[in-house]
């Protein structure tokens, strides 16, 4: 056996026939860009409304996207029959995200979406009674509660590894047509005009290289996150949590270029989460997320005490999952915008206590010492279903002799104070925590209205592309957007695609393959990627000023016009990687522009409402919206009224 030569490093012919000059036209009522969790749900909903639906994805839909490798938490099911709080209340008391209508829509649909997944075949309940009488189990439903064992607000996604295969089959059975390994590169608008109605999209095949033109009455962007703007990391992507590497932000970039408004893009600048020092997420000893509420002991076997959000010491393992006094429920700070719903954590002055010798490093996650049901829940339900952990951790660690009944898993050695930072344990040293949004969660937020429609008529958004993170929000908004896009399509004709726009896009897409053989085409996509991340590290770091940000814009432009014109692509795979760098130019520039408008608004004191940005020709416009604009004017008075109005047609079956 000779693994080492990788079956030979000699050049081989690309294994698929390639036809760069062929154009394939596809017609749809509803086009879904990105067949991840949100995209599949959107396709199912729109197909059921009798529409011809086309989904395209860079990857095989059965396993594509962030959800394709598994899931363990289904968050925020406030519409469950026993919910401790209504969605209305949760949103009213919650954090102002600048788009609370969108968050409301997401929260409203999570329970129904879970029930829908079950109908499609996902095994969500403890049907084998493995957790009978365990505190995690909700006796009425057989669901497994996460974080909070008194209230059911988050659910452990029993069977979560299968979420994508189930949705893929659901979409297929509903009649959606799938175009896999097709990378969508731009939106097509009426008359080719920016800001006009969206009438389709263009892309190309990552196997055969053909040019695709999708004609569609409405379009949904569900292309996931916008990542990798700050960090060039090749071989180490697998170690850290980084979102699906296909998610560079084409959805965001194409919406922006077409004139869509974006929101919150100034919240950028951290390099945390993807750094080369990161550990396999979930694969090290720690007490949070997938491992919540695992006991942690020090190197001498002394257990670290836990405390609740009020600072009271918890004396039993069970108490970690019971809301503290005054807490309506225990949630996940990432999904639930409510204050004070945080989880119990290790004692707050642990860092100090380590430094003064009370506890000795390294720390160990004491699975062996956990009550049996909790051990089986962490290692069996969570590690068994969470993304990238079923085979990578559960199988591999087991094969290596790790026995949850007998063993404790080591936590990385960190600055003692770091042990109090949520998730920081995964990220490794040196610590690069920054106060703004992490690249890890760096989705670009395409703004939308009560129908999840953008300011471009016919263009909808769902899932992480719209800032709606997590599997429950992605699925919930997917179903919702699919229905709204189907309704839009029912009322409209197939728009005209602008020939000039198509020709220009074709030229842009195939430019890198035309350079093959040219002497100066020696730049690979990796160099281009590395170059843009350098710009962002330098000019969009923690310390930001307008001149630095403007320098960044100039620098990006310069790379784009120089090295960007020297990049080669030897086959359709490499072509996709080069075009992803074009996406990075655009997404990075949005970040820079958004930061500039933010600083300028602060200087002029216009910080009361919300700042949106959009492209108008060559210029970037700042759009101010007043506080709570989503409940003003025609959207008065309340959340539920708007929601009900949007669901009217769906309910009456028209």
């Amino acid at each position: 056996m000779n693994f080492q030569n990788n079956n030979g490093n000699e050049a081989i012919e690309w294994p698929y026939p390639v036809h760069y000059d062929r154009t394939i036209h596809v017609y749809a009522d509803v086009l879904v860009i990105g067949g991840g969790l949100a995209g599949c749900c959107a396709a199912i909903a729109a197909s059921r409304r009798g529409k011809k639906v086309v989904i395209c994805d860079k990857a095989p839909i059965k396993k594509s996207g962030c959800g394709g490798a598994g899931m363990d938490h289904w968050n925020t099911v406030l519409e469950s029959p026993t919910s401790p709080m209504s969605v209305e209340e949760n949103i009213e008391c919650g954090r102002d995200t600048g788009m609370c209508h969108r968050d409301y829509i997401a929260e409203k649909g999570t329970w129904d979406a879970l029930m829908e997944l079950e109908k499609l075949g996902l095994n969500i309940r403890d049907d084998l009674d493995e957790f009978k009488d365990a505190a995690t189990r909700d006796e009425a439903t057989g669901l497994l509660k996460a974080y909070d064992y008194r209230e059911m607000v988050a659910v452990k996604l029993h069977g979560g590894n299968y979420i994508k295969p189930i949705l893929w089959k659901g979409a297929k059975d509903a009649g959606a047509e799938m175009y896999e390994r097709v990378m969508v590169t731009s939106l097509l608008t009426e008359g080719g005009r920016q800001g006009a109605r969206v009438v389709g999209a263009a892309g190309f095949s990552m196997t055969g290289g053909e040019f695709y033109v999708f004609h569609s009455k409405s379009v949904i962007i569900s292309a996931g996150y916008a990542c990798s703007m700050w960090i060039y990391n090749m071989e180490i992507t697998g170690n850290s949590y980084r979102w699906d590497p296909n998610e560079i932000g084409e959805g965001l970039a194409m919406a922006w270029t077409a004139g869509a408004e974006v929101y919150g893009m100034h919240k950028a600048g951290s390099t945390k989460g993807n750094n080369p020092f990161a550990w396999p997420r979930f694969g090290i000893g720690n007490p949070s997320n997938t491992w919540f509420p695992c006991s942690i002991v020090d190197n001498r076997g002394k257990e670290i005490p836990w405390e609740d959000v009020n600072g009271n010491i918890l004396t039993s393992v069970e108490a970690r999952n019971i809301p503290a006094e005054g807490q309506p429920y225990i949630g996940s700070s990432k999904s639930d915008n409510l204050q004070g719903i945080g989880q119990a954590n290790l004692i707050h002055d642990l860092g100090e206590r380590i430094r003064n010798g009370e506890y000795e490093l390294p720390l160990w996650a004491d699975l062996a010492g956990m009550p049996e049901a909790e051990r089986r829940s962490i290692w069996g339900v969570m590690i068994g279903n969470e993304g990238k952990s079923r085979f990578t951790l559960y199988d591999l660690y087991t094969r290596s002799g790790f026995d949850p009944e007998k063993d404790m898993l080591m936590a990385p050695v960190e600055l003692p104070e770091n042990y109090m930072k949520f998730g920081a344990w995964f990220h490794g040293e040196p610590d690069v925590v920054k106060p703004w949004r992490t690249e890890n969660g760096g989705q670009g937020e395409i703004a939308c209205d009560w129908k999840l429609m953008t300011n471009l008529p016919g263009l909808f958004v769902a899932g992480a592309s719209g800032g709606l993170e997590g599997c429950s929000f992605a699925c919930s908004t997917g179903f919702y957007a699919g229905n709204r896009a189907a309704e839009y399509a029912a009322d409209t004709d197939q728009g005209e695609i602008d020939e000039k726009q198509l020709i220009a896009e074709r030229e842009r897409v195939y430019a890198p393959v035309k350079r093959t053989g040219q002497k100066n085409a020696y730049v690979s996509w990796k160099e281009l990627w590395g170059g843009t991340t350098r710009v962002m590290q330098q000019c969009c770091g923690e310390y930001k000023t307008v001149p630095i940000l403007k320098h960044g814009l100039m620098w990006l432009e310069s790379i784009k016009n120089t090295e960007g014109q020297m990049t080669f692509a030897r086959n359709p795979h490499e072509l996709a990687r080069v075009l992803e760098c074009d996406t990075r130019f655009t997404v990075s520039s949005i970040f820079l522009h958004a930061c500039i408008s933010r600083i300028e608004a602060e200087e002029t004191g216009e910080t009361d409402g919300y700042i949106f940005n959009r492209l108008n020709g060559e210029n970037v416009e700042t759009v101010f919206k007043e506080k709570k604009y989503w409940l003003k004017g025609e959207n008065e008075p309340g959340y539920l009224d708007n929601y009900e109005k949007c669901l009217e047609r769906e309910r009456s079956g028209r």
Binding site: F3, P15, K63, G209, G238, G283, F402, H573
Partner: protein, 113 residues
């Protein structure tokens, strides 16, 4: 007319990312067809093991491992050599993947499978 294109399989990163046992592989390409990255490409010779073309782009999602009907494919997480665990009762310390790690007599499947 089709355009002639070439692949120059990249030298691997820290590990080979994925290795395929040619004695077990039947060349069904199930792994190729599920890989989100195109790390794996079909072998030009029909029935032969896939080419590990872009190991440096692997996401280590193990979807290929899951898809292989023959257990012919192994994924090598490049960081696994660094993680330790400790047997609670004896205090012995082992490393995931180390030659001297204890053997386990049974494999309990995870929940929900």
């Amino acid at each position: 007319m089709s355009d002639k294109c070439y692949v120059v399989p990249n030298p691997s990163g820290p590990t080979l990312a994925v290795s395929i046992d040619p004695d077990r592989c039947v060349g069904c390409n199930s792994c190729v067809n599920i890989c989100r990255i195109q790390t794996l490409l079909p072998n030009p010779v029909h029935g032969r093991p896939p080419i590990v073309a872009y190991p440096d782009e692997c996401w280590y999602c193990a979807c290929c491992v899951e898809a292989c009907p023959r257990g012919a494919l192994e994924m090598h997480l490049p960081i696994n050599q660094r993680i330790f665990f400790k047997r609670k009762e004896t205090g012995e310390v082992f490393r995931i993947g180390a030659a001297d790690s204890p053997s386990k007599s049974y494999f309990q499947p995870p929940v929900g499978w």
